[in-house]
Symmetry: C2
Subunit: 564 residues, 2 copies
Amino acid sequence: MGQKIVVIGGVACGPKAAARLKRLDPSAEVIILEQGPFVSYGACGLPFFLGGVVKELQELINTPAGVPRDPHFFKAVKDIEVLTRTKAEAIDRDKKIVVARQLETGEILKLPYDSLVLATGSSPIRPPLEGIDLAGIYTLKTLEDGRALKEALANPDIRDVVVVGLGLIALECIEALFKAHKRITVVEKLHWPLPTILDEDVAFPLKEALEDRGIEIILGEGVKAFEGRDRVEKVITEGGREIPCQMVLLSIGVRPNVDLAREAGLEVGPLGIKVDRHLRTSDPHIYAGGDCVESRCLISGKPVYLPMGSVANKHGRVIGDNLAGMESVFEGVVATAVCRLFDLNIARTGLTEKRAREMGYDVVSTIVAGADRAHYIPGQNPLLIKLIADAASGRVLGAQMIGPGDVLPRVNTVAAVLRSYGTIEDLAAVEMAYAPPFAPAIDLLTTAAWATQNKIYRLVKSYKPYEVKAKIDRGEEVILLDVRTPKEVEAVKIPYPNVVYIPLGKLRALALEKLPRQKEIISFCKISLRGFEAARILASLGFPKVAYMEGGLAAWPFEKEFGL
Amino acid sequence: MGQKIVVIGGVACGPKAAARLKRLDPSAEVIILEQGPFVSYGACGLPFFLGGVVKELQELINTPAGVPRDPHFFKAVKDIEVLTRTKAEAIDRDKKIVVARQLETGEILKLPYDSLVLATGSSPIRPPLEGIDLAGIYTLKTLEDGRALKEALANPDIRDVVVVGLGLIALECIEALFKAHKRITVVEKLHWPLPTILDEDVAFPLKEALEDRGIEIILGEGVKAFEGRDRVEKVITEGGREIPCQMVLLSIGVRPNVDLAREAGLEVGPLGIKVDRHLRTSDPHIYAGGDCVESRCLISGKPVYLPMGSVANKHGRVIGDNLAGMESVFEGVVATAVCRLFDLNIARTGLTEKRAREMGYDVVSTIVAGADRAHYIPGQNPLLIKLIADAASGRVLGAQMIGPGDVLPRVNTVAAVLRSYGTIEDLAAVEMAYAPPFAPAIDLLTTAAWATQNKIYRLVKSYKPYEVKAKIDRGEEVILLDVRTPKEVEAVKIPYPNVVYIPLGKLRALALEKLPRQKEIISFCKISLRGFEAARILASLGFPKVAYMEGGLAAWPFEKEFGL
């Protein structure tokens, strides 16, 4: 007989570990315990089921060939036994037995194992606030959650919805709520949307996209309480606002399910079950992976929590390998994420600037704006890229991108460079694919790397829009030099009195006459390609204090005045 | 006074070098000589002008802000003097003087330099065939070429067009010819389309896409002669075919323009002007970059010729840095390329399998098929990925991808891994972005890396469709096991007598009864995800000779029988 393996958890990491093991070691006897009624489903597809992109929940259960991944499938195809509605209740590590309960019959099972896999996943955080248990307060995690939410969306009595927390899942759901014609208010404790994904200075297009669609956003305030008789009727914020609603979507993150591991005496940290590079827990006969474990950040080496379906699947494969005697390792994560909201694509990999600063890096960061394809190709879309590096070592620390432009080719490139501990030089040297319908000759990511190099080498001085605004707010005597054409200026401008307008083509001729030498001059244009050029021109003309504003108007989140 | 710099060539590398230098060293006196009437234009956009995607040639000359990049622009904005219609005729390296002729007036200029930049570009190859100088034989390189071709496309007397050579530019133009309702015949000397970009085993979707649109393809035959009285009327192939036509598009590649360098006594190889990592020629006062130089392949370390606009621009920046005293280097190329034909996206980076074998690598390669997004998201598109690695070291050597699916995120990831000399393990470990509308939880590229690992570790045996076909053609007694559902089989199947049909879900139950143990069994499905699973099942049941067919039906380029 082969080794006996028990896998606790049947969504992503668990089935993957079981399947990989069976492919490598067909003699293994594998049982998967899953407390829910479904296994191995595409939980990440739930927001798209809500939005009607995915028509039936069943599609999230089926294989690409349309076969349901149910216990019968696992038995027939993979020779794996799956027990659904079966909850593991205790682990006897001495006897190497899992005690489980069949939730419908109450039957107690005692399952011996040679090796055990914990893939217990995560649960949505439900803070112990007043009224948290009222009906009408939803989270989205399981297929059952998805079904319940879908019904709520179709319910005409539910008009006003409050979304609590503005993270990835919330964003994906907001589009569904909007399509269902709900009146939406979003409450986010931090001061900008997607606060763990984006830095504040590149989050504004997201805020604008929400506001443009009439979605109210309350930032910098948490929820204090939920009120209502039978159902939720009101959300009370920490600032004392009362938001009437018939439904709440709670989306403030998930927590690793670690009770079973902790009760069994395994080492558990605040970010999940502790595992080594082989994903072995403190008990060498027990592996753990997916949302229930603590990850290691490849960039900082620090513990981090990253509950992602993609990572869970990779964990599963590594565990399967190790169970079969192959010494596979999982080195860590760089936290790549991507999402779409309306016409905006948003992506991040690595550390945010905020996080990098908190960790003590000598941070240099740059924002660039530009098009995702050759500028003469219709359908090219704008994009902002923010790149974060360590000035001392030149190492890339992270990147963020946002805009209607194509983010995936860029974020994956940075993720690959992060994986090889690359520098900004390494990133600039990646030979990204070029053809006009796909990318500009110099990809915007390469431009971002070059701009960061220029900054590290102090070849050019530049400020981010936030830094420019702070200078103005502090009353510094700076001149903003707008070098766009009169026609562009007519359409939109920064309505400050200290803006001077000289189109780039006339700057060499007019600068000495029109611009004072004693003040700091910060040049910009639509995306600050010309703004950069203008700063170089002024420097070459001997102006002593010159900088350009990174990203130009495209990255300017503050007041704008629109013309006709 | 600053250093005097003369730049010969005004399209991509030259202006970039000049502009970068001036930004770093405003005191430099820079002159660009360009023999054509235009400078710094988007030559790569020409095929899209032909196809009407780009409406006016002027758009290829303008900056993103709509300002023409003409001599006035270079003077006003960049303080660079541009002399168009001016041909450099000789370099006196002792006196450090360039002798140039103004093509319209015949005036001879003698331009002294401290450093010289050669960015002389490339010219389309026009083989010395009979009739090569007949009217109606076009190439596409300059704006003037583009204008002439556009007129030809609009000419109703031109109905039949022969495209000679099936490379990147040819592909981009074929779509324009097709849209202009021309009858198109393509003649390619090698045996499959895009022969330097794709291996034969993944080129078939391209062939099918052309044939589906009534485009005739003649492979494995070069052109012997062109015939006609005043204009071309006929193309004669090496095989003796006579193809009547009123127009020929010659697209068999370009050659570096090295005459000037060679006459000046600089070191020139068969692939272009020889340069070091700083892009310095054999004369330390002369730099060269762009299409006129020989590149170094980062993977093999061998010389290679890669005339690409993106590379030329990067060369320009490195030259500008070095002219300004910064020790920038250009390490080499990995030859990333991307193009689109109708609904197919095609990309390559690194070495093809053919090239890798020629170079003596211990090649392992894998083909995988799958979707570019989560399988339950409507609008996901299929893709084939071929990955090439060195089995001995595990190093990634290259990748090819083709299909309606999104190639850019995948090819850029491989390009980044190639740049860091990464292994298949490194590629598999890249944390690619995941969200259902963007990518599957396990990206198809990660799947390709895993499949290659399985192959290197000899965990599973697999054959490519070409290898399977060769076995059958040799009369080997193999069984092809199709594990798709009856409904799928009804729609399309491989019409060979040695195919056995058992749906995956029934394989464990029926295998021993239905399949002979003594024959080799090669399983497959639509994409061979189930095919792979089937091979594992058979192995676990003790079948001694089992393999799966990589990529399944999606990668099968041979006979297929379609049902209703």
